[in-house]
Symmetry: C2
């Protein structure tokens, strides 16, 4: 079985030393989020995830969820309910929800290390509370007073959970095709009818009620994405004083048999004239959906990070224990029958790849969290706008890169175990199977790439990119004379320049041929992720040298940054070449000739 | 469920048009291997794998193998035994074994498309006959007359199967640590005692007997790899006239629960004073082991290829059927609710990546097969020696690259399905799980990399590399004026030059620091694989243009080659940068500081 210990020191380093989140919290008026309080929250999150959730990870994989076909009830794995109750009792569900709905009003940023730890400990379990946050966001911004009163409080205090019901059998990425209907009724409610698939936590007995946020079409809706409305459809109807009413006409029809995340209930949900209430304006459902989606996308990015962290911890332990062959440069432990495999450069390559992607990715994702707080809580409108652009720009990068890297890190960590990694009892293969969903759900990597390049760069004219490049410029200027990071400044500057050039080049080509966007998108996304990470690695070294961390810690950051710049950042060369080759290399071949 | 149709046209193109295997067979005196006969064999292999093996693939995954703890018997999935009987009746087990032991004496090369098709159809099933070939090789070259008489014939005709018993709980890559003992007995036999793990097809009821090839130590053996001997230990003892004797003291203690290849029996084998017979000389067991291992390594490379082919076929079908969103450059099928996803450049990127790696990898692996035939059957000693060097050089590249690419191709193919790829019923996730073993067993990618760089390049002074570079030079010289491939000649020449420079650079550094070999090995291996593939893609285009294939086929080869040179070959830039960064970026960080 794999084990997990929360990397609190590095989490704090990322949060406070690199990003300066404590100063940001103070500046933004989060009076409750003092360093002491935040430290205590992190300690308690570590305790809860290590001791309550982590031991249930293998249990969830082994047992999975089961559906009673007659009743439509879903049973979750042993221990999941008790853990959920403790989570609710600890007040975790409302950590960064507004106090007026029972939340603690802490910064969004704090939810990031919390989610990271949950996902390291037990990703499948973490999927049950995960989407409540998206539902909360949608209701908070677009719900009526009654909807907020009726649904928000129980979602915030964890008595109920939420879902996002978007996908249908014939439409996933293309929501414009969806068929679920919502017929208006005389009392102002809607009768929602249709089948939704891949509904995470669509049914379970962890809570008394489940709040489905459902995309559907009104009878007179225009075709495509401009005819989609958003509805809230509870499992049990809700009286006007919040009392629980009768069972609504929504049922789980089946559970999917999946490659991994067996402990997570992935449901086919059948709505059969279920009573629903419209959220926001008619035919404007996608706006509310994006409010949910961005939260969920960042959350999935943190799943990639969390799985990578756990995988790497176990690979590191194994690499120190497993004795196999001698170092090529001579025995390091002559008294042992062989050297531990961590002496072998190729094992170190795999471990350092994980370490560089994880620790850099941690800072990258937490920084996106800070942007959410600034965008919401800054008193300066221009600053809010820029933070919003930056968050929008970083969301597809965090989602896609941390999940692609999650696949890579769980691959490398498993590989360190040799054949033993393939055997279930070591727990490494579960992490690899669980990681495989993360590049698919909440928008595949290809969809993230289109969101980044097509929307955030082309449509929104790259405001987020410009804001990020300004950070790079400022850092390079401020650290020109800083011996601790001088080796990284020129490579970082060069990379930022090429990033701009590639962006312009794609823009020019896309003006003549829109396929250029789709053809460049994936490589542009990955290119961007590696440059963002290079920035954070340079800043991490600067922050580490200026910190009171141990000499070993400082050496660890310095050498990992060197490894990153020397051995991972050059992947941008391949991505740049692919971008520069243009769309023709992808689009010329006739679809029928692929297997000619 | 995923489906499979043998890509016979491309298999024939690779074999005959690109490599010219038919001319080679004739030149080497394989009178039976006329084009007609080979074509008939390929047709029949396609029929057998498509109709008998492919439908059992999901069955094997679902049912797995089961052990009766009391008897030690292993039950294989439904249909596996009947399929094995048909395989034996069809004479497949002895396809390229010597006629004097009942084989058909066909070229080794022919085993490559056969294995590819078996692995596409049902990799787990294919593991049962797979290792017989390795056992056959070891006995053929190192067995006594009696051993060859007693064991070879039933292995060749498929009445029995073979295993390779190398790994023990504390030693996998480092066989020098192995502890299994072989005590000589008065009658010249040995009592073999110890525990072997990860034994593929270690126990089953497909055949009446199982022939274990076991590495063990004699009582007076020196420590390390110089004290290992090879023994043949049958499940049932064998009388001097080949009669089946009493049960030997070797039993399956347990089956591993694995991420994939559930239909393959991965056994813990306990030898408890089992009667064994020494193969070859005392303490020289590794020589026999390598004879088995090289065959098995190429076979595992073909597993990566086979899985990739099946995955890609299904992704291509899905990409043509699944309607989702419009092409960015405007609707292609305005009469449909959306365009098929194959119009989207990023879906094409994933499909073309598979296509380029599979079709190029097919030629690369079959060409290695031809070297085995030349090394064995040429009348020219110098040619035999060169082919042997080339086969040795290509073996780690074929094994490691085709399996790493197998992981990538099954990843991409699954990704084309979006969330549906994660669901068991589509069969894509099984292919991804099955692929995950291939970079681990028969030597991890890291071990292949050390074999290539440490042994085939450094120790053997790069004879195989020189032979390959001579092929590249010859092709470039001969095609300097060939308009069909002129665009590829300069890039290929440049890449070959850099390959030599990197090789020299590593050699110079390694003289001062042996860790440089381990630090460069993985990136050097992948770099080499991409250059080898570039050569085969250029040659494939030349061969295609000169062939009587359809215009669509020619366009398909040309555009895929262009895609490969533009979008995949640039990965060598990243690998070269990693190599050039040297060992320091991997070795400087103290092992204790990884999680400081």
């Amino acid at each position: 079985m794999s084990s997990y210990k929360a990397p609190l020191n590095d989490i704090r380093f990322a949060l406070f030393d690199v990003i300066g989140a404590d100063a940001e919290f103070e500046r933004l008026g989060f009076d409750e989020a003092s360093r002491d309080v935040v430290d205590a929250i992190l300690d308690e999150a570590a305790r809860f995830t290590e001791t309550v959730l982590a031991p249930l990870n293998a249990v969830g994989d082994r047992e999975g969820c089961t559906l009673d076909q007659a009743s439509g009830d879903v049973t979750v794995p042993t221990g999941f309910k008790q853990a959920f109750d403790q989570f609710v009792d600890g007040g975790w569900t409302g950590l960064n929800s507004p106090p007026e709905f029972g939340g603690q009003g802490m910064p969004q940023t704090l939810g990031f290390p919390l989610k990271e730890m949950i996902n390291s400990a037990n990703l499948a379990w973490g999927n049950f509370p995960l989407l409540s946050h998206g539902a909360t966001e949608a209701l908070l911004h677009f719900g009526t007073d009654w909807q907020r009163e009726a649904f928000l409080k129980p979602l915030v205090d964890g008595r109920w959970t939420g879902t996002m019901c978007l996908t249908e059998p014939h439409c996933g990425s293309d929501l414009g095709l969806l068929k679920t209907r919502a017929e208006p009724r005389a009392d102002g409610t809607y009768a929602v009818t249709g089948t939704k698939i891949f509904i995470t936590a669509g049914e379970h007995a962890l809570t008394n009620n489940i709040v489905h946020l459902v995309l559907a079409r009104l009878p007179d809706a225009p075709a495509g994405v401009k005819g989609i409305s958003l509805f809230v459809v509870p499992k049990f109807k809700v009286g006007h004083h919040g009392t629980q009413g009768e069972r609504n006409a929504v049922r789980c029809g089946s559970l999917e048999h999946k490659m991994g995340i067996h402990g997570s209930a992935t449901c086919v949900m059948n709505f059969d004239g279920a009573e629903g209430y419209m959220v926001g304006d008619p035919n404007k459902g996608l706006v509310g959906m994006f409010a949910m989606m961005n939260s969920a996308r960042l959350g999935v990015g943190l799943q990639g990070l969390g799985l990578s962290e756990r995988a790497q911890q176990n690979a590191l332990r194994y690499a120190r224990e497993r004795l196999q062959m001698r170092a090529l440069s001579g025995p390091r432990f002559p008294d042992k029958p062989a050297d531990p495999i961590i002496v072998h450069p190729d094992v170190r390559r795999m471990l350092l790849t994980c370490k560089a992607l994880i620790e850099g990715g941690r800072v990258m994702s937490y920084h996106a969290g800070v942007q959410l707080d600034i965008a919401r809580s800054s008193t300066d409108a221009a600053e809010r706008e820029q933070a919003d652009a930056l968050a929008g720009f970083l969301t597809p990068i965090v989602k896609a890169c941390l999940t692609e890297w999650g696949v890579e890190c769980t691959y490398n960590a498993l590989q360190c175990f040799g054949g033993h990694g393939y055997i279930a009892e070591h727990g490494m293969e579960q992490l690899a199977r669980d990681a495989r969903i993360t590049t698919l759900y909440e928008g595949t990597t290809g969809i993230q790439a289109l969101d980044l390049l097509g929307r955030k760069i082309m449509q929104l004219k790259g405001a987020g990119l410009r804001a990020f490049l300004a950070m790079v410029d400022r850092f390079c200027a401020e650290n020109a004379g800083n011996a601790a990071v001088s080796e990284f400044i020129d490579p970082l500057r060069g990379q930022a320049t090429q990033w701009q050039q590639l962006t312009q080049q794609i823009g020019q080509r896309a003006a003549a041929n829109p396929d250029e966007v789709g053809a460049a998108a994936y490589d542009y996304l990955m290119y961007s992720g590696y440059v963002v990470l290079a920035y954070w690695w340079a800043r991490s070294v600067a922050a580490s040298e200026a910190s009171s961390q141990s000499e070993a810690f400082k050496a660890s950051k310095r050498e990992t940054a060197r490894f990153y710049f020397a051995r991972l950042l050059p992947r941008t060369l391949a991505h740049a070449a692919a971008i520069e080759s243009g769309a023709g290399t992808l689009t010329t071949l006739d679809a029928d000739a692929f297997d000619a």
